[in-house]
Point group: C2
């Protein structure tokens, strides 16, 4: 079995930590990317983590490592880190990362940290913390370079040389017009290739995408992905710039949102819990299973109600799982296609009727295929044409309705601004289970009564 | 109901097309972003599409519009577009986009297009087409700026001014050392802020992430996301640069791969099919349902085998759906968490035993909770302690095993380099269905026989 590099790194670190071979460790730790060291942290004990962390020379790398830790690992680790060290590291990180970290720390640690940092930085981070963490304001960096539109290219380059090197990912220069409003943007490329004496207003692009501080981060990510942007300015209602959302944060959002949707669809929470304890996993998964359990109990009542029929026609039992299964599966397919289609903007909320009709048609045709197949199986197995017919019709009706419901529920959820990913879980399956059982027994009563 | 801007755009375009009010149309078409126009295309007829497309002034915008169309819409539209027009447009697009388009067109159209384009560009695109479309080579742009390390900052800026403006997303300047090997990278920011007379070798960063042309695009995307890169150079085995993968393409890959995983988990294909016809939807969804159908037929045999037991104890039937449902749902939860964890590198393939054990523990504890609950329901409903006990034990065993299997299958798939997303579908559910039924009836036979 080949080992991936991350696995090799963890094993090497562990071996060297056991031997306490500090010169080797120091070399590896300062050559590895802090992101990779952060991934190794959960596999190490707290003293091992502290040992490694102390060997990192560059406080900025220490900071990047901290930003990449999971909440629980981060809390344990920082609780054991002296506050002055933490402050020293934080002062070298971009404000949005510090704000994220503070949001993950216990409140008193966060407050102590902010109090200890330089005044301006602490104020900027405090401002960021006021925004919802899932909004543009919560993910923006307050550091950017903005100059008046009359500035010449020569002066702009000079300003650029003077600007703090901690301005993140500088590839655009923002241009400010009358009333402090954002007027346009220049790329560094344009700046470098323009004549030194002309003003920025002559080379800037005036058509510029912006978002408000309260824009949902998912919408920000969608705009950046849609229009291939590297950064998008965040403005207030007067078009004055507050900060910039950069593409590296957008990538994280896109991955997080996909994870959230996937986990929600399976009723496994909305945040990644693998590294969490067994107990918190249980707490997250219990409610969804409760919904499915309630659906199951409803099914026992339906079967109980039809018990006289079943007693007479015991072979009906054999087809309960396959009818429920086919309905559940095609319903999940339809729901998943609609949920992902909505997230990717491939389906518009307004097109409810055509989407539901198309899925129902797909369900109907597939229902005929599998209805015929399973009806034939039933007829062959029990030599009863009535059973074959009941099974076939039950499969056809169930699959048609299941596909329709699977599409209808998330579309309706989206219309009412409820997250459609929730709809693929127990709602769809329980509704389909109850429907398919009732249909099956009703058909059986009908066909076996004459 | 509020309408989203995209919906308003489509309606406005349709209304103006019906009225054939060309001045209005021209204004809207040239103000809208070509990406948004592309999204409107599927809702329009071919003559309407042609009408709109002809009103776009800038051939580059026409090109961007084409790159954003779905394959079927693109093929119909380009089939009706005169070849010289198409060539004129393609010559203004980045090579990787043209290569993508050519890959989606019928082979003869693609060949004719390449033959008609300028020689160098046509050669570059032909080179790109030789790489697997899911590899770094298939998504890179061959245009980049690379200069020898002895070049001074002043000369580098001059070169930048001379370079073609069609070099995509320039924010890095690559530096070439001995034997044409990639030696380092400078950001434009560093270039602008450095003294004009020093050589690039003095300011460049030497530690640089690279990928090979055959690196899988998913691995490229993971590196870019992990290390917050804006672009990553693609090199050959001698470290000579072949091209650059830019962050905007990485975002598309991340979204596509998430969609692929989500659809695979629900057995709904691996590419988005919403815009495709009912028939192609059916073709994609049929095989997965067949696997689920086979599992269902197996269940009929198991129930048939235990028919004598069922005849004697008809009330056992009522709990078949809830036992199968609880097993299926917890199995799906575990499988989903593992599949997404692997994709996000939160779970390492090597840690098979701890991951499976943890999921089994979660399944066991949740099994006890729901086993007790459903056992009590059974006892209360039928006043039979034996039934209560059988249901409780069946739920406990089923949920424990289901969670373990749900984790084990994708972990094993990943070890053998099979896509784990496939494992969450019919394999997991069918295996669990058969297991839970057998367990339930075996327990019933055991407890009701004395």
């Amino acid at each position: 079995m080949t080992q991936d590099p991350q696995h090799i790194l963890v094993n090497t670190l562990k071996r060297l930590l056991r031997r306490n071979s500090r010169p080797h460790l120091r070399k590896i730790v300062n050559r590895a990317h802090p992101v990779d060291l952060a991934r190794a942290f959960p596999a190490l004990s707290l003293p091992q983590q502290q040992n490694l962390f102390g060997l990192i020379r560059n406080p900025e790398s220490q900071g990047i490592l901290l930003t990449e830790l999971d909440r629980d690992v981060l809390q344990t680790f920082t609780a054991a880190l002296p506050l002055p060290n933490l402050i020293h590291i934080m002062e070298r990180l971009p404000e949005d990362d510090v704000a994220d970290l503070v949001g993950q720390l216990p409140e008193d640690t966060g407050q102590a940290l902010l109090k200890g940092m330089k005044r301006q930085q602490s104020k900027d981070i405090g401002d960021l913390l006021r925004y919802d963490e899932d909004s543009a304001g919560g993910i923006m960096v307050p550091g950017f370079i903005a100059l008046p539109e009359s500035t010449t290219v020569r002066d702009a380059i000079r300003q650029l040389q003077k600007a703090h090197s901690d301005v993140e990912m500088t590839f655009y220069l923002y241009v400010i017009g009358a009333h402090e409003r954002l007027a346009g943007v220049c790329s560094l490329r344009e700046l470098v290739t323009a004549k030194p004496e002309i003003p920025l207003s002559a080379i800037m692009t005036r058509e510029i995408f912006t978002v408000q501080a309260d824009t949902d981060q998912e919408d920000v990510a969608r705009m950046v992905a849609r229009y291939d942007l590297l950064a998008i300015p965040v403005v207030d209602t007067e078009q004055r710039m507050l900060g910039v959302v950069t593409v590296d944060d957008v990538i994280d959002i896109i991955r997080e949102e996909a994870t959230e949707d996937i986990l929600k669809m399976a009723g496994a929470g909305d945040d990644f819990v693998e590294t969490k304890s067994v107990l918190s996993s249980i707490r997250i998964r219990l409610p969804w299973l409760l919904a499915s359990c309630a659906g199951g109990v409803a099914a026992t009542f339906i079967i109980g109600y039809f018990e006289p029929t079943l007693e007479r026609l015991i072979y009906l039992t054999a087809f309960i799982p396959v009818i429920m299964g086919m309905g559940g599966n095609i319903g999940t397919q339809s729901a998943t296609i609609v949920v992902r289609g909505l997230a990717m903007e491939r389906i518009q909320t307004q097109r409810l009727a055509p989407v539901v009709l198309k899925e129902t048609a797909v369900g109907g045709i597939l229902g005929f295929v599998y209805g015929a197949l399973l009806g034939a199986v039933a007829h062959a197995g029990y030599a009863l044409w009535r059973l074959g017919l009941v099974v076939a019709l039950a499969v056809i009706f169930t699959m048609t309705l299941a596909a329709g419901i699977g599409a209808l529920l998330p579309m309706s959820f989206a219309r009412f601004k409820i997250d459609p990913a929730v709809a693929t879980g127990p709602f769809v399956t329980s509704a389909i289970d109850i429907l398919s059982l009732t249909l099956y027994f009703a058909l059986a009563n009908l066909f076996f009564s004459f």
